[in-house]
Symmetry: C3
Subunit: 425 residues, 3 copies
Amino acid sequence: MRELVKRLHPICRSMTGDGVRRTLEIIAETIPLELHEVPTGERVLDWTVPEEWNITDAYVKDASGRRVIDFARSPLHVVGYSVPVSATMTLEELRPRLHTLPEQPDLVPYRTGYFKHDWGFCLSENALRELPEGEYEVRIDSALTQGHLTYGEHVVPGESADEVLISCHTCHPALANETLAGIAVATELARRLAGRRLRHTYRFLFAPAAVGAITWLARNRDRVDRVRHGLVLACAGDRGKLTYKRSRRGDTLIDRAAAHVLSTRESEIRDFVPFGYDERHFCSPGFNLPVGRLTRTPDGEFAEYHTSADDPSFVTEEAMAETLAAAEEIVEILEKETTYLNLEPYGEPRLGPRGLYGAPGIDQMAILWVLNLSDGEHGLLDIAVRSGIPFTTVASAARSLLEAGLLKEEGHRREILLQRVERES
Amino acid sequence: MRELVKRLHPICRSMTGDGVRRTLEIIAETIPLELHEVPTGERVLDWTVPEEWNITDAYVKDASGRRVIDFARSPLHVVGYSVPVSATMTLEELRPRLHTLPEQPDLVPYRTGYFKHDWGFCLSENALRELPEGEYEVRIDSALTQGHLTYGEHVVPGESADEVLISCHTCHPALANETLAGIAVATELARRLAGRRLRHTYRFLFAPAAVGAITWLARNRDRVDRVRHGLVLACAGDRGKLTYKRSRRGDTLIDRAAAHVLSTRESEIRDFVPFGYDERHFCSPGFNLPVGRLTRTPDGEFAEYHTSADDPSFVTEEAMAETLAAAEEIVEILEKETTYLNLEPYGEPRLGPRGLYGAPGIDQMAILWVLNLSDGEHGLLDIAVRSGIPFTTVASAARSLLEAGLLKEEGHRREILLQRVERES
Amino acid sequence: MRELVKRLHPICRSMTGDGVRRTLEIIAETIPLELHEVPTGERVLDWTVPEEWNITDAYVKDASGRRVIDFARSPLHVVGYSVPVSATMTLEELRPRLHTLPEQPDLVPYRTGYFKHDWGFCLSENALRELPEGEYEVRIDSALTQGHLTYGEHVVPGESADEVLISCHTCHPALANETLAGIAVATELARRLAGRRLRHTYRFLFAPAAVGAITWLARNRDRVDRVRHGLVLACAGDRGKLTYKRSRRGDTLIDRAAAHVLSTRESEIRDFVPFGYDERHFCSPGFNLPVGRLTRTPDGEFAEYHTSADDPSFVTEEAMAETLAAAEEIVEILEKETTYLNLEPYGEPRLGPRGLYGAPGIDQMAILWVLNLSDGEHGLLDIAVRSGIPFTTVASAARSLLEAGLLKEEGHRREILLQRVERES
C-alpha cells in the first residue's frame, strides 16, 4: 500500500481535472473501475458541477530568473483552482497571494478555493522570509473550462443487492495520509474481496470530497436505499490510534461492528458530528445513511494535516495494514452477522456426545454464550459484545453448534426489527 | 436587587399578617401585583387556612427593666405564631421557651410553630449564657385572629395562555438569602419581561411557603394545567454556585433548559426530592407540574441558613445578578425552543451563495448542526445539548437559515410528542 | 450453621448415591424434605439420568502395605464416579491416574468424571513426591449400577401458588464453603420461614448440580412458570464480600431486591453469564426464569476452591449469618413489595393531625417519598432505590400511611405491567 501512496503522491489532484483521472487510472491497475464523467453545469442536489481545472505549470521567478516557488516541485505550491496568471509584480503586491504557516515555518500549507476564481501560491514561512524585495515574474498556466467532474466506482458483487459502500476522497494533491492512505486501504480491501462469495455487494467509491460525494448521491438518489452499511476511509496511515466516528444514527450495525472490532485495539469511538469528510453528506438528514468513518488520527488533529509534511514518510505500511485489518474485520461481521435459534433451549444441552466439549478448536465459553443468547433476540454481534469474546470466535462457535444441529438460523432479526421500528416511527 | 433585600429585611413576615402585606406593597412599587386575601378557615386541598398572626411588640425584661430579648431588634427573636403572653417567671421557668444554637453561639435561630398555639423566644447562645438567674418579665403582644392569608400575583401576558410559573416564598422574617433574594430576582425578572412580546404568559407568584402554595393550587386547580413550565426561586443570593433541582418528571423542557444553561457555569444539577420549597407541592403526584427549582446553595447547606447571619451582608448583587441571568437564559429557551425542518436535507446545501459561509456573525458549526439535526425530531435545545454550542448561538444560526429559506418551522414537535406519550401512558 | 457444615463435611457426595441420601437425611432433621428418586436412564431434557455411583473404600497401598492414599481419610482422594479397580501396578503406570495441584503442593484437588467410566486418585503434590518408585496395590470398591438420582424438596406454603425457588447443590464431597455453606444457609432460611404467614410459596431445592437441576426442571416443566423469583445459594460461607449475580433477564424483582439489599453492604453485583451454578439451567433461554445467585466469593475466585483447603475452618458463622441476613432481607422485599396509591395526591397532605409528623418511629423522609411516588407507577422498592432509604423503613412508612388512610394498595402494578410487556413482546 505504501508503494501506491508513493506513486500517487506527486500527482496534482483537485476536485476536477486530469490529476483525478490519472489517479483513477493507477487505481484501475489493481481493481477495475467504472469511470463517471459528469459535465460542468450539471445540477447535483443543491450544487452545480464546477468548471474543470487543469494546470501544467506555475512559478514565481525572481529577478535572476530563478524559480523561487515552483509547481514542478510540489502541486501544493499552487492554491487549488487558481485562475491563469501572467504578471510581473513587486513582492509587496504579491505578498497577499502567498500563504504560509508562520507557526510551522518549514512547511508548505495546502490551500484551495474552488468557487473563488482567485489565485495564489503556498510556500514555507522560511522560504518567504528569504525572498528579497523586488520584482517577480508570476505565472500560472492553468485552465478553467467546461469539462467534467470525474469519479470511479468498483463493485464486488454479492448474493444480495444490498450494498456496503466504501468511500474515499481523491481530490487532494500530495497529502499522503489525509488522502492517499485511504485510497490505498480501499483498493487493497477491494482486491482482497475479489472472487469471494459474499453476502453483500460492495461498492467502492473514489470521488472528490464534497461535490464528488454530492454528485454520486444525486446520480444514485433512487438507489441509495440499497446502501445498508458504509464506511468512509481517510487519514488511514499515520502512527496514531484508530478512530471510528459513528454514523448519524449512531447504533446501526456498522457502528456496533466497528466499536466491537476497535474494542480490542488502542482506539477511540466518537459520536457523529456534521463536519469532517463525506459522511457529512451521506449522513445528511435526507439520506441519513448508516455510514461511519474510519480514520487513524482524525483530520485537523495531527500537526502534519494539510501541509507538505503529510508526505509518504508520514504513513507506515504497519498503520495502513492495521486500518485494513480493522476494515476487514468489520466486513467479516457485516458478512456473518445473523441470529440463530437454540433448538435445545431448555437447560443446557449435552455437549460431550456432540463433540463440543473439550474438543480442540472449540471455545467453551463461546459455545455457552451462543446457546444462552440464541433466543431469536440476540445476533452474533450482540453475543460478542455482551460476552467480550471476539466476533470470529463467537461466529465459529455458532457454526459448530449449527453443524451439531443445536441451532437454526433465524436471519437478521435485530436488523429486521430495527427497520420495522424505523419505518413505524 | 440588594437594595430591595435590605429594605424588606427588617419586616416581620410570617405565613399570614401585615408583614406579608407590607412586603407585597413594596414589591408592587416595581411591578403591579394582584393581591389575594383568603379567609381563615377556608379549606385548601387537605389543609385549612389558619388564623392570621400579627405582632406589635415582644420582649423579655430583666429585673432592672432592661429588654434582654427584644423583638424590636429583630423579628427573629420571637417564635413565629407565638400566642400572646404577659407573665413574670424565673429564668428556670423561661428556659424551655428560649431557643438558641449552641454550636453557633453568636447567632439567633429562626423558629416558627404555625399550628402549635405555643410561644417562645430565640436568642444567641452567648446571650442566654449571660442571663443571670432571677425573675423576668415576659411579654408578647401578638394576636391570632380570624383574618386572611395574603398572596400576590403578577402576570406578564404572552401570545399563548400557556403559563410559565415563577414562584417564591414571602413568609420568612429577616432571612436575606433564603427568602428575600428570591423575591428580588423574581421581581427584577418580571420587570425585565414587561412590555416584551412573549410566546408564553408569565405568572409570578409571591406567596407564603407551603400553605400559601397549597392555597394557590387549591384556588387554581382547574387551570393549573396551563402551567407548562415553572421555576421556584429561593436562596438566590449567596456566593455559592448555582444549583438546579429537577422537576419530579425530570426531563421536561424546563429541566433540559436549566441543565443546558447551567452547563456553562460552575453549577450542580440535582434530582427531584419531595422536600425543600414549594416544588414539593407543585410536584405532588396529583399535580406533577413541570416545575424545577433554582437556588444557589440549597436550603440547609449553608451555615447561615435559618439564622440571624442570613442578613443582607450575606447576599451579593453579583450572585443575584448571576441567578437572574440564568433565569433569563432559561426564559429565552422557553421562548425560542422550537423544531425546524431542513428544506434541503439531501447532502449539505451550498452556504456561500446564501451568505452563510464565512460571513460575520455566522457560527459555521451551529449552521451545520442545525441543518443536520433539523429533521423534525430535534428541537433547538436538543441541537444545543448535542453540539455543545450555546442555545442562543444555535437559535441565531436557525434564524439565519430560516431567513435564507433553508428551514421551515415545525413547532414544538418534541413537546407535542412527549405530551402525547404522557397522555397515552 | 457451622455445626451442620462440620457434620456434612466428611460424607462422600456425588451426583448420585448414598452420600446424597445421607446428606438429605441430616437436612431433614431440621426441615422436612420430600425426597425424589429418579431412575437411571430416565430422559431429563437433553440428558439421561446416569448410573448410580456408590463407593465403600478405596486406597493405594505401598509395598509395605501402608495406605499411601486412603479414601477413608477424605472422599476427595478418589475421582468421582471412578469405576471399580483392583490391580497392582508400578508408580509409573499409576502416575497418569494421580491428580495433584503442583502450584498448591499441600492441597488435594477435587476431581470428578461423571460420564467417562474412568478412575483416578487425588492427592497433594507433596505426597506424590514422597512416593518411591515400585509396585502399588490399587483398589477402588465402587459400584456403578442401575439406581437413582436423589433430590429433596422442602416447601413453605404461602397465600399464593407463586413460588420463590431457593436452590443449592448437594453433589460435592468435602467442600465446606463451595457446597455445604449454601446448604446450611438454605436450611436455616427454611427453618425461619416455617409457620410464618407468607405471601409466596417458598420451595427449597437440594439437588445435585447440573443433572440434578435439569432433572427437577424436566419433572416440573409444566409448573415452572410458578417460579416468580429464585435464588441459587453457593459459596455462602467464606470471609469474602457478598456477590449477587443477576438473572439472565437482569432487571426482575429479585435482581432489584438483591441489588438494594447488597447496596448497604460491602458487595458486588455482576451481570449474568451462562456458566457457574444451576442458574445456568434455570436461566437457559427456554426457561429464562427470574433466578439470580447469591454467593460470597464466586466459584473459582478463591484459592481454596475445589481443594481440600475448602474445609470447615474456611467458613465462618459470621459470614454465613450475613449471607442468611441478606437472603432474609431479599425475602422481606419479595413479601412486601407492592404499589400504593396516594389518596391525597394534590399537594402534601397534613401529617400532624394524622400523627405522622415528628412522631416516634416515623421516618419523615420516608413518609414524604412514599406519598410523592405512590402514583401507581412506583412500587416500594422503586421508592427505596430512588430515595436511598432502606426498604424496611419505606415499607414501614407505607404501613403508617395506609393506617392513616392516606394510601390504598394497588397491588404489584409494576410486576403486572412488566409481565404484560413480556407477554406482548
